[in-house]
């Protein structure tokens, strides 16, 4: 256990010890625990604690195991960003071993932030393979069971695995490249599950490819094959990634892959958030490398597109319209489930506000949600008042119910307004009232006076008479005036003001009484 002590004592220097014992799985087990400790302490502890309640008992036990020795290292283990890559590769290799068992406990602890939408499926995906690794990790303390795990063998055999693993362990807020190693890491786990070494070989050069695959897998990730089959259904650009992933991983531990992807994606986002200065060119290169790797690794046409799309979409949170919504944590933003859900909500709300902005006239100039909401409220109120006014008008109007009236009416309903010459005046007269009603950002007192009180509606009877009087005035024909309230608003500004003053002058005392 002196090696453990080495780990405990040093930061990354333990990687050297790890390197020494790299090939021995038993040693690796010990190292893994230590690695877990340092990794977890550096990176995962907060997540662990957050997700403790969600994780299965194994994870909690493991984390408790890990955290206790790691606690001492929590403060101290800040992986030096540079110069320890070799050591880090070893560490990552170890972690890869751990992950190959099904999942690393940190992964399982880093529950997907999608818990809001589809917690059960996500967590189940994450936990189901994760269940084995925690157990294995627990047994790692004994140092025997990991050897039994078959997946470790191919991983350890991978030459580039150590490098990737080392990079992976650096995801704790270090460079983006280091963060990228998560992708690699996940990719490695995927590889281990698939036992496809070609992927690993290709991945040596491009850690970022994992990211793409991860993202794809993540988007598809959930219940094992069912979800993947679902993921294969084409969606938008986001779905391209998913479909590509699903195609690539037909029924092969794909859920695990997806889970790993999700984990890696989350982890990636976390270190990204933590990394204050993530070298973007490095990330871009990594991404491009990812793309290349993906194409080579997966060998599917869509991958290039999806990878590119994924690269483009990396900064955006893709939300595939599946039965649950995958949300990516954006760079520099919190990644816990609550904030992610909050962000989703906020985006939904802003999207709807934009739609409302198109609906409500005169909203384009208004900026800010509160002001826009005020505008919307005013508009709805004005519309309701218009309905009341019109129903009052209909109540007072003397209908000439001929046999043809109703037929004419229904026909007129859908004819162009401009074709009804007589309608101009009544429309204009109505428009006067409507113009009074809805005044975007023009607080005329008449607005309040006219509409709200039903009793005031009675005073509209003489107002109606006044309105009809105004029909005699030559109002400029406005086509579609009744169709568009903004027209009324502008109309109001131009010509109706004088008319209204004339028409409503006698009625204002009455209508403003309320």
């Amino acid at each position: 256990m002196e090696k453990d002590q080495v780990f405990m004592g040093e930061g990354l220097n333990r990687a050297a010890a790890v390197q020494a014992g790299w090939n021995s799985c038993s040693f690796g087990m010990e190292m893994e625990t230590d690695e877990l400790n340092c990794v977890g302490s550096c990176f995962l502890n907060p997540k662990w604690h957050n997700s403790m309640d969600q994780s299965d008992p194994f994870e909690s036990a493991l984390s408790s195991m890990v955290c206790s020795p790691a606690a001492s290292n929590a403060g101290s283990t800040n992986f030096p960003a540079s110069g320890d890559n070799t050591m880090m590769t070893d560490l990552i290799g170890k972690l890869g071993n751990i992950c190959n068992t099904g999942d690393i406990s940190p992964q399982s602890l880093i529950k997907p932030p999608n818990n809001n939408n589809n917690c059960s499926s996500n967590t189940s995906c994450y936990t189901s393979p994760l269940d084995s690794p925690p157990k294995l990790n627990l047994s790692m303390m004994g140092g025997n069971q990991i050897l039994k795990h078959p997946s470790l063998v191919p991983v350890s055999a991978d030459p580039g695995f150590a490098e990737r693993a080392a990079r992976f362990s650096c995801f704790n807020g270090l460079n983006a490249q280091l963060g990228v190693t998560e992708a690699e890491f996940v990719q490695l786990t995927r590889v281990s599950t698939n036992q496809s070494i070609m992927v690993t070989g290709s991945q040596v050069h491009v850690p970022d490819s994992n990211k793409n695959t991860l993202q794809d897998g993540n988007s598809c990730s959930d219940k094992r094959n069912s979800r993947l089959s679902r993921c294969s259904s084409p969606e938008n650009g986001d779905s391209k990634d998913e479909s590509s992933i699903s195609e690539q991983i037909p029924g092969v531990g794909s859920s695990i892959k997806a889970q790993n992807d999700a984990n890696a994606r989350k982890r990636k986002s976390m270190p990204r958030g933590k990394a204050k200065e993530t070298p973007s060119p490095a990330a871009a290169d990594a991404k491009i490398a990812e793309e290349n790797d993906e194409s080579t690794a997966k060998r599917s046409k869509q991958q290039n597109d999806s990878a590119k799309a994924e690269n483009k979409e990396n900064p955006k949170p893709p939300e595939p319209p599946k039965d649950y919504i995958h949300v990516r944590a954006r760079r520099g933003q919190a990644t816990d489930s609550h904030s992610l859900a909050e962000r989703v909500r906020r985006e939904k709300i802003s999207e709807r506000m934009k739609f409302l902005q198109d609906l409500v006239p005169g909203c384009n100039k208004v900026t800010g949600k509160a002001l826009m909401l005020d505008e919307i409220i005013n508009y709805v109120q004005s519309l309701q008042r218009q309905v009341e006014f019109l129903s009052m008008k209909l109540a007072t109007v003397n209908p000439r119910m001929n046999a043809n009236t109703e037929a004419l009416l229904s026909k007129d309903m859908f004819r162009s307004r401009g074709s009804l010459p007589h309608s101009h005046y009544p429309m204009d007269s109505s428009a006067l009232a409507f113009g009074l009603r809805y005044q975007p950002q023009q607080g005329l007192p008449m607005n309040n006076g006219i509409s709200n009180d039903t009793q005031v509606q009675f005073s509209m009877n003489p107002a109606n008479a006044a309105l009809h009087k105004t029909q005699g005035l030559q109002l400029p024909p406005v086509d579609g005036i009744s169709d568009a309230n903004p027209q009324i608003g502008s109309f109001w500004d131009d010509d109706l003001q004088s008319i209204v003053q004339m028409g409503f002058g006698q009625n204002q005392p009455q209508s403003c009484q309320s």
């Binding site: 309701q384 019109l390 309903m413």
Partner: protein, 165 residues
Amino acid sequence: MNNPHHLNPTSLKSRFTTRFLRALTKIRAQKPISSSSPTEIFRRYRRIKVAADKSMAYSVRSRRIWSRAMLWKLRSRSYRRQDPCSGRRFGKTNQAIMKKSSNENTTTRREDGVGFVEEADELRQLVPGGETMNLCNLLDETAHYIKCLTTQVQVMKKIADFYSF
């Protein structure tokens, strides 16, 4: 303008128009508009307004929360008018239905950091059934409600114009 005479028979506009016209003729058939006393006119006005709201809500059916709320309100009002006791019964069953439908869409109303709860509350009072909606759905319903209101206003304007010349 090239507004075609043909119209989409299934559009909201046509559905509302037919229903509303039917209701209007019914209302007018009930009482001749000879009397122009304010009370009479007021009663007719109320009836027409209710008919307008009803036709609109029926045209939308139960597809929207606000239409369901409006229908429930209208029904409960009419039931209460007919039979004060049945209002209670009706209220219970329909409130259960309303709550069930609203529970699907509601989340706890809270300040989720957007910061305009007062306006949202005001909007909730305007849109029927708005009290039970979270902000997201509220905005959705508001958009549809605005669309329906504008249709309603258009149609009623046309009718009024047709009648008033």
